[in-house]
Every structure is written in structure tokens, then in C-alpha cells.
């Protein structure tokens, strides 16, 4: 306040607070974690409880390639941001594009798996408890991947228009937290669906 007495000492140490973007993103991630936890709990509870229809072991193929793609994209986005912080815009654009592509490959892979499950194995969301919980959980994750891809694509477009530079590194770092979260969720989903649940 301008009316504070001049005798009050100014704080000696600089007044630093966590960045609001980071806090906001962590808060969002906390909330999303809770949503995924509920879906995972439902999935785990219903393991083995389907009254009929195909069982996971009979129809699920472990998506190793897809998983490698998605988890690598965490690495490439990290490299992209390191490049951006260091001012190497071309490298940033390349790594960002690779991240985007890996994410897209993952999504396409999921789509292909679903196509196979629906048309060949006859597993839909209404088939049985496994179908309901599987498509919901994997679908919720895929939805979050899609949202991330939209973000990645938007930045890609701006980057190609030469509008992204070093000063945006902090903001994109916050965005990358979301992408890392999406990858971490996939680790959990992968373990629950393809390892524990089979």
C-alpha cells in the first residue's frame, strides 16, 4: 500500500511464488488423475465379472509398438523444449513434429485395434462388462490424447509460421506437463488392461 509507513523494511529475499501456469496445470492434472482413477477402479473391479462374451485374454493383443511410440513422444517433446530454450528453433520444430507424429500414430493404432475388436472379435461397449470398461477407459485416454494432439498441432502451425520462439518456452513447458501426464496415464492403463486384466 502506498500508505505503508516508510519505516517498514522491504523484504530482503526476492519475493518468488510458483508460476500460476504451472500450478494451474498441476491442479488440472490432479483432477484428471482422479477421473482416471475412478475408471481404473471400475475396470479392476469388473475383471472376471463379465457374464458372457469375449474375455480379455481371448481378444486383446498387447500394443507394444503403440506404447513405444507414445512413451517416446514424451522424450521428444522434452528434447523439443530443450531446443527451444536454447534458441534452436529448427531443432525445436523437428522434435515437435516428431512428437505430434508419434501421438498421431498412437491414436491411429488405437483406432485400428478397435476396428479389429469390433468387426472381427465382436466386442463392443455393450457386449459385456469387459467391453464397457475397456472402451470407456481406453477411450477416455484416447480422448485426452486427441486433446493433446490438438494443442500440439496448434503449436506446430504457429511454429511453421515462425511465430514461436524462445520466450514461449515456459508456456510450452507447462503444456508439456499435460503431455507427460497423458503418457503416464497410458502406463497405468497399459498395466491394468493388458497385463493385470488379461
Amino acid at each position: 500500500m502506498s500508505s505503508l509507513p516508510a519505516t517498514m523494511p522491504i523484504t530482503e529475499t526476492p519475493w518468488t511464488l510458483p508460476s500460476r501456469g504451472r500450478v494451474g496445470m498441476f491442479s488440472l492434472i490432479a483432477g484428471e488423475t482422479a477421473i482416471f482413477t475412478i475408471f481404473i477402479v471400475a475396470y479392476i473391479y469388473y475383471i472376471g465379472k463379465s457374464l458372457s462374451g469375449p474375455m480379455p485374454r481371448q481378444v486383446l493383443e498387447v500394443p507394444i509398438f503403440n506404447t513405444i511410440c507414445l512413451l517416446s513422444s514424451s522424450l521428444t517433446i522434452h528434447f523439443a523444449l530443450r531446443a527451444l530454450k536454447g534458441g534452436r528453433i529448427a531443432a525445436f520444430k523437428l522434435f515437435w513434429f516428431v512428437t505430434l507424429s508419434l501421438g498421431a500414430i498412437f491414436l491411429i493404432g488405437t483406432g485400428r485395434e478397435w476396428y479389429r475388436l469390433i468387426t472381427k472379435e465382436g466386442l463392443t461397449i455393450t457386449t459385456n462388462l469387459f467391453g464397457t470398461t475397456y472402451y470407456s477407459l481406453v477411450g477416455l485416454h484416447a480422448f485426452h490424447v486427441s486433446a493433446g494432439l490438438v494443442g500440439l498441432l496448434t503449436v506446430m502451425i504457429f511454429a511453421l509460421a515462425a511465430r514461436v520462439n524462445q520466450e514461449h518456452a515456459e508456456r510450452l513447458d507447462v503444456f508439456s506437463l499435460y503431455w507427460h501426464f497423458v503418457d503416464a496415464v497410458w502406463v497405468a492403463v497399459f498395466i491394468v488392461v493388458y497385463i493385470v486384466g488379461r
Binding site: M1, M8, I10, S27, A30, A34, F39
Partner: protein, 565 residues
């Protein structure tokens, strides 16, 4: 007093909002309010939204009480009654309590931490409009679908929407979908607000205001925000699952396909119980600001109050199944939830003692805000104790699902939260408008409401003890419930009169209330250092603080707080 010197901090805006309004065309004013991202305006909009829904929810309650005043009444049909209790509960929790508490928080937190706005002003606006549209969608259910003259499709599954009553088999048409989707929409708004509270409080405090120096209100909203992140999201998840069941043929809660009705209950109450703490913590916040000012002492035991708040936040996430003691969980599960539910009484009780300690040895002034806080303390004490009764699982097997439980939670929500909210109105209305609410009307408001509240909710315990279950549109005359129900209904009249007093007070005082300056109550937190109402930018210069009561330090330079903290 050094107070007048403080007004130099803000540009003298002597005009009140109403004077400014006269100068601009109405369309421009509306446009300003619709596109605003100013936390003060959004706070007022939340509060206005809440008051609108309070009237609707109150009407629903009145209809139920008229129907239940005598046995075998025919005031409304069972179908209408079932919609009434569903809509009453849903409205009051999501569109009255949450919105009004958010409104006060959004208004006050930036002012109290010495900053210009919330961390994410546009997200703030988005959150408000999502809540508003959610409420609108819920009420559209009365006229949507089959229309006004038809059966109507307002939801009638109770505000917990237990499965499998909500499955397509038992809930035909779209009434349940209105419940699900309106809350889903509002829930996203709530999540946005939660993120905003956490980010604002952690990232935007003025220099010198460490976490240990911010007003207790800010602590309460920080914990509330954090709790919301983990609370509203399970409901979102459960509602997504319900929608998958209803629209995509899923089987999450489809008992015919092996699904579990109990799982809905778990997910709902994992949301539902922390939700009530989301509602009570801001009420604690108001009491924690008002009682010290009117007792003329600092809050007793600030660090313990913080610790208790955080403890409540954590423990509240472990008690949920005390709403499910009758569903047949194993005995050790029931015992666990008895333990956690009783445990949460400890930090809650500590708070009551600390408020008592604040009053002790003080110089208490009984202006209307303090009267409402006194009512809060008395009623919250009782509510907490009936909560302990309900926490003893075997006792719960008799009391749950009965009017005893309804009495208990209305004691918390009306006797606790609403009293605290009324207190907050009287306390901060001068800051928001530059005018005092009328004291005499305020005391009539308090008196009538106190009497009406106790007539209704004290005697409601009796009906429950005599075995009257909840959610029934009528009852048998031979069970001894008639007198109790009649008295309960009579209390509604007093409450209605009180609320009319209050509404009149709000309108009258906005135009004709006694004008006031920055600090009518001689208070100590930063919001009282700006003008009333504050300018759009809150503070001309971002303040710097050294203690929990910066204005006390200014008013008492010979004995500042920072020497003792």
C-alpha cells in the same frame, strides 16, 4: 484514525455503481457484465445466481412441507413430490451453496491477498457461465420434453441418483439425463474454479504474505480448491459412466449384466462426502474472519486452525462410506468408516474451541454479522454432535434414511452454512456496494430465521426417531408423526418471512443504505484498505505485508502483530 489516509491508496471513486449506471444505456451495461472477467463482478454474478436458485429451491421445499404437513394430503401427486425433493437437493447443493460460496471466494480472495484479479480471469468467467448454463439446463427439464402441460421431465431420482433407478429400464425419458448433463456441465465450471483458487492463492500473493501470513479465509479456500480437484472429478467420472450406460448401452451399473449398484454408491459418495466439506470450509472461512473482528481479538490459534483445516481436507476423503452403512458392507469395512468418521470430529471440534477462544476475553459487538456467527457456532455444534451419532454405524442403521438424517444435514447446511453466508452478506455488503445493510432489518431477519430454523429442524429429529423415512410423499396417520410434521411445516413460514426481510434489505440498502467508506467495521485484512466498492484494479500499488493483520499493524504502530507471530 489512520484509516482515512488509506483511501488515498485508491482513486477516489465516489460514485456508486448505481450512479455510473445512470450514465450508460442498459444494453451497454449488460454487455459489460456479460463479457466481464473482473473477479469482483463475477463474484457478484455468482452470488446473484445463487440467490435466484435459493428462491427456486426454497419454493420446492415449501411445496414438500405443505404436502407433508398432514398425512395423506393431496397437495401434489407423488410424481411431482419426487421431482421436488430431487430438484430441491440438486439445486441447493450445486446451484445455491457452491455458487454462493464461490462467489464470495472469487470476490474476496484476490483482495485479501493483495492482488488485482484471480490467476486466470477468463477461466473464471468461463467457470461462471458453465455453472449458469448448468443450472439453466437443470431447470429447463421442467418444460423440456413432454412440455408444461404434460408430465414434465424434471429428474425424480433423488439428488444422489442411485443405480439402478437411473438405468434406462427404470428411468424412462430424459429426466435423469437432465440431472446428469446439467451437473456435468456445471462440474466442469467447478473444476475450473477450483484450479483458479489454487493457482491464485499459491501464485499471486502480495510480497510478504507467506502462506503463514495469509488470512484464514484464504487457507480455507485453498484447501477447498484442492479438495474440489479430487472431489468433483469422481462425480464427473461416475456421470460419464452413467451416460455411457444410458446412451451407449454400457453396463457400468447394469445389475442385470453383472454390474454393481453399490459401485455407483461408492463413486457418488467419494464425491458426495468431501463435497459437504467443500461447502463447510468456506463457511468456516467467513466465521474465522467475522468473529475476530467483532470480538476485537485475533483468531485464537491460527496455526492449529490451519492444521485442522488441512486435516479435515485429508480425512474427509476417507469417510465416504458412512453414507452406506446400510448397504451390507463387511463388518470390518463398516468399522473402518466409523473410525474415520469419528476422527474427523476431532479437528472440527478443535475449530469450534478456537472460535470460542477468540470470543473469550474479547469485547464482543453484536452487530448482525456476529449474531449470525453466534447462531452458526451454536447450530454447528449440534450438527456436529448429531453427525457423531450418525457415525456410530449401528445407530446409523436406525437413523439413516430417516428424517433424523435430513434434520442433521439441514442443521449443517442451513444452521451452519447459510447462517455463515448471511453473516458474510452483512459483513461484506458494505465493501461490495459502499452501503451498509440496515441493522434493524438485519436483526429481524436473524430473529425470524432463528425461530423458523429451530421450529423446522429441531422437531424434524423427532420424526426421524419415530421411524419416519425420507423421500416419502405422504405417511400413515397411525405412527405419531403428524404433530412433528405440522410444527416442521410451520417453521417454514418464519423462514420465509426472514428471507423476505433479507431480500428487501438487500434491495433497499443498495439504493438507500447508509454510505460508508473503506472500513466500516474497523477490521484488519487487506480488503478493508481499498475503497468501497474497490476500483477495478483493486489496489493502486500492490501492498506489502508483514503480519496476518496488516491493517492492525497500521492502526497500532506501537504494538504491531508481527512482533508476536
Amino acid at each position: 484514525m489512520g484509516m482515512t489516509a488509506m483511501s488515498s491508496n485508491s482513486i477516489p471513486i465516489s460514485e456508486t455503481v448505481s450512479q455510473v449506471a445512470e450514465r450508460k444505456p442498459l444494453s451497454e451495461i449488460l454487455h459489460e457484465w456479460v463479457i466481464t472477467v473482473d473477479h469482483k463482478r463475477l463474484g457478484l454474478m455468482y452470488i446473484g445466481l445463487a440467490l435466484l436458485f435459493l428462491a427456486l429451491g426454497g419454493l420446492e421445499a415449501a411445496i414438500m412441507r405443505i404436502q407433508l404437513a398432514v398425512p395423506h394430503a393431496h397437495f401434489v401427486s407423488p410424481q411431482v413430490f419426487n421431482r421436488m425433493f430431487t430438484m430441491h437437493g440438486t439445486t441447493m447443493i450445486f446451484f445455491v451453496a457452491m455458487t454462493i460460496l464461490f462467489g464470495f471466494g472469487i470476490y474476496l480472495v484476490p483482495l485479501m491477498i493483495g492482488t488485482r484479479d484471480m490467476a486466470f480471469p477468463r477461466l473464471n468467467a468461463w467457470g461462471f457461465w458453465m455453472s449458469a448454463f448448468g443450472g439453466l439446463l437443470l431447470y429447463f427439464s421442467f418444460i423440456g420434453g413432454e412440455g408444461l402441460s404434460g408430465a414434465g421431465t424434471a429428474p425424480d431420482v433423488g439428488w444422489w441418483a442411485y443405480a439402478p433407478l437411473t438405468s434406462p429400464a427404470f428411468s424412462k425419458g430424459h429426466s435423469t439425463d437432465y440431472w446428469t448433463i446439467s451437473l456435468l456441465v456445471a462440474g466442469f465450471g467447478t473444476l475450473a474454479t477450483a484450479v483458479n483458487f489454487v493457482a491464485t492463492i499459491l501464485s499471486m500473493r502480495c510480497p510478504g504474505m507467506t502462506l503463514g501470513k495469509m488470512p484464514l479465509l484464504c487457507w480455507m479456500y485453498l484447501v477447498t480448491g484442492g479438495l474440489l480437484l479430487f472431489t468433483i472429478t469422481p462425480l464427473t467420472a461416475a456421470q460419464l459412466m452413467l451416460m455411457i450406460d444410458r446412451y451407449l448401452g454400457g453396463h457400468f451399473f447394469d445389475t442385470q449384466a453383472g454390474g454393481s449398484a453399490v459401485m455407483w454408491m461408492h463413486f457418488f459418495w467419494i464425491f458426495g462426502h468431501p463435497e459437504v466439506y467443500v461447502l463447510i470450509l468456506p463457511s468456516f472461512a467467513f466465521v474465522s474472519e467475522i468473529v475476530p473482528v467483532f470480538s476485537r481479538k485475533p483468531i485464537f490459534g491460527y496455526p492449529i486452525m490451519v492444521a485442522a483445516t488441512v486435516a479435515i481436507g485429508f480425512i474427509s476423503m476417507s469417510v465416504w462410506a458412512h453414507h452406506m452403512f446400510t448397504v451390507g458392507m463387511a463388518s470390518y469395512s463398516n468399522a473402518f468408516f466409523v473410525l474415520t468418521s469419528m476422527a474427523i470430529a476431532v479437528p472440527t471440534g478443535i475449530k469450534i474451541f478456537n472460535w470460542l477462544g477468540t470470543m473469550w476475553g474479547g469485547q464482543i459487538r453484536y452487530a448482525t454479522p456476529m449474531l449470525f456467527c453466534l447462531g452458526f457456532l451454536f447450530q454447528f455444534l449440534i450438527a456436529g454432535l448429531t453427525g457423531v451419532m450418525l457415525g456410530a454405524a449401528p445407530f446409523n442403521w436406525q437413523l439413516s434414511g430417516s428424517y433424523f438424517v435430513i434434520a442433521h444435514f439441514h442443521y449443517v447446511i442451513v444452521g451452519g452454512i447459510l447462517f455463515a453466508v448471511f453473516g458474510a452478506f452483512y459483513y461484506w455488503f458494505p465493501k461490495m456496494t459502499g452501503r451498509m445493510l440496515n441493522e434493524t432489518l438485519g436483526k429481524w431477519h436473524f430473529g425470524f430465521f432463528f425461530i423458523g430454523f429451530h421450529l423446522t429442524f429441531d422437531f424434524m429429529h423427532g420424526a426421524g426417531i419415530l421411524g419416519m423415512p425420507r423421500r416419502i410423499y405422504t405417511y400413515e396417520p397411525n405412527r405419531g408423526w403428524e404433530t412433528w410434521n405440522m410444527i416442521v411445516t410451520v417453521g417454514v413460514l418464519f423462514q420465509a418471512v426472514a428471507v423476505l426481510c433479507f431480500a428487501f434489505n438487500l434491495f433497499w440498502s443498495y439504493f438507500r443504505g447508509r454510505a460508508t467508506g473503506n472500513d466500516p467495521w474497523d477490521a484488519w485484512t487487506l480488503e478493508w484498505s481499498t475503497s468501497s466498492p474497490p476500483p477495478a484494479y483493486n489496489f493502486a500499488a500492490i501492498p506489502e505485508v508483514k503480519s496476518r493483520r496488516p491493517l492492525w499493524d497500521l492502526k497500532h504502530p506501537e504494538d504491531p502483530d508481527w512482533r508476536y507471530e
